[in-house]
Amino acid sequence: MAASSHGVIATFDTSADIYHAAQKVRDAGYKFWDCITPCPVHGLDGAMGVKRSKVPRFSLTGGILGFTTGMSMIWFTGAYDYQLIVGGKPLFSPMFAFPVSYELTILLTAFFTIGGMFFLNGLPMHYHPVLKSDHIHAGLDDKFLIVIEARDPQFDAAATKALLAEIGGKDITEIED
């Protein structure tokens, strides 16, 4: 059973139910578990003990890279590789290089932010045991689900199911891997 089981899934009807249930699963000491919700639920990160997202680190990297790319590209093309004299103006000035660097800052920040989000979420992942479960449809529509994974050191099929039942979970079933 343990080898083929991905974990246990339980359904909750309201966001308040899952919020309180998540606090109890967190306090029970589980690590490999998640809530599945149709929309972001305010405060659920705290209830689950999820730390602040690391996406902004990617964004900052992208932004710095974009700005330096813009400035160095304009310096390289106009002042170094082929000196372009226009109106007797200096070959390079951060003033006229600013608008393009500014746009590249935004462009690369966007790329890194979205790339970072996918990387941190481990997406794309088109195959996942949870997606095979019948529950998932309801979870993206109007139900709230908790999945506790079998790889969690605390996982014990019977005890975990009992915990989920105790905190108000319904329709508790096991998901195959």
């Binding site: 966001s15 305010h42 590789d81 109106g87 006229f96 393009v100 935004i106 941190l120």
Partner: protein, 474 residues
Amino acid sequence: MAHAESAAAPAILSEVKPAELPRATLVENHRSFSWITDKICGIIEGKTPGWWWVCFALACFVASWTVAGITYLVATGVGVWGHANPVNWAWDIVNFVFWIGIGHAGTLISAILCLLRQKWRTSINRAAEAMTIFAVVCAGIFPVFHVGRVWFAWYLFPIPNANEIWQNFRSPLEWDVFAVSTYGTVSVLFWYVGLIPDLAILRDRFFKAGNKVRSFLYGLFAMGWRGANRHWSNYEMAYLVLAGISTPLVLSVHTIVSFDFAVSLLPGWHTTIFPPYFVAGAIFSGFGMVLTLMLPLRAVFKLEDLITQYHIDCMCKITLATGTIVGYAYGMEFFIAWYGANPNEGFAFINRAFGHYAWAYWIMISCNVITPQFFWFKAVRNNTAVVWVLSIFVNVGMWFERFVIIVTSLARDFLPSSWGYYSPSIVEIFTFFGTFGVFSVLFLLFIRFLPIMPMAEIKGVMPQADPHAGHDHH
């Protein structure tokens, strides 16, 4: 005395009832989550309505005008347009600025209103962002083909070429290349990120319905989204960062577009008010277009519970505010022309209002300054048909604004001997009106195949999504 007052005050206060200011309801009739899902997915899953085919055929026909006009231009030369000295920028640049400006409302709704926590944005942001992308597509056509030999359009980008010469980065036109291409790319990405959770819903619904092909296609783009809260956490942060960078982006794009004019020395263009004036005008025109598109969608798909009167009120008020800023800018241009005491600049503005193109100027004034003032009245805002007609006037007026700025200034430039009067050629006229077909084709495909409203975001602002539902459990 003082004691008596302080003793009396609480007694009075107990009788004073502070005004109850309930938050506006964003979804009427206490709809459930599954009603939202069924309503929005139902549009895609249902049979293609007859009116859709009629509109689509008509839109394709109109779009063919652009295709024909562009084909003729490429085969013949840019001379098939009506440009001639001194008016070397005309309808093409007017149309470019017009379409780019329309796009700005979409980004305002998705980014700026997100940062300002204006929750009413959720039901209109998907369609408005789609509008942005399709407007940028239409806008891009004009400068690309105006370069004449369009097969050299890649010279706009810093790609090494046989002449070993690079772009002139001092030119606002080169800034514009980066601004518009960044704007288009980031708008598509922002739109796509918003779509991911909704595509996952469609994937699962089509899978259940047994439609494997559509389930596969939606699933491919849904990236395996499974609504996990650890994912939502990163997703929400990414969305916030994207909103944060799209805000300076949308302000910079029309600023840089206005630099195309303001950095030149031409009287009528060479004014410092241009960046804020262009941005306000862009948002004004964009909201005009959002109203033009959303009101029919609301009626056809019976979305009154999702696009409520409150949403329409908000959009009308933004149109009123930005329209009034635009009106102020028109006045300020005249004031500065007089106060600056430059006779050439003074002439440029007097000529705009009373010269050969006075007809265009007064169309602009009546559409852009007078039209939005009707939105002060609740009775007007409550009448959907009137709002729709007024939104059309806004669109027309903003096209004329760009025409007035570009053409009147060029037609009376420095040398009176070269003054001219510009009229568009038939090719230009068809190419421009055809872009409405291009836009409509894309928009019709969007409403047929993609969720026109962000289901997850709408659910997120509904009372059911709030685990504390009015009282704090922390």
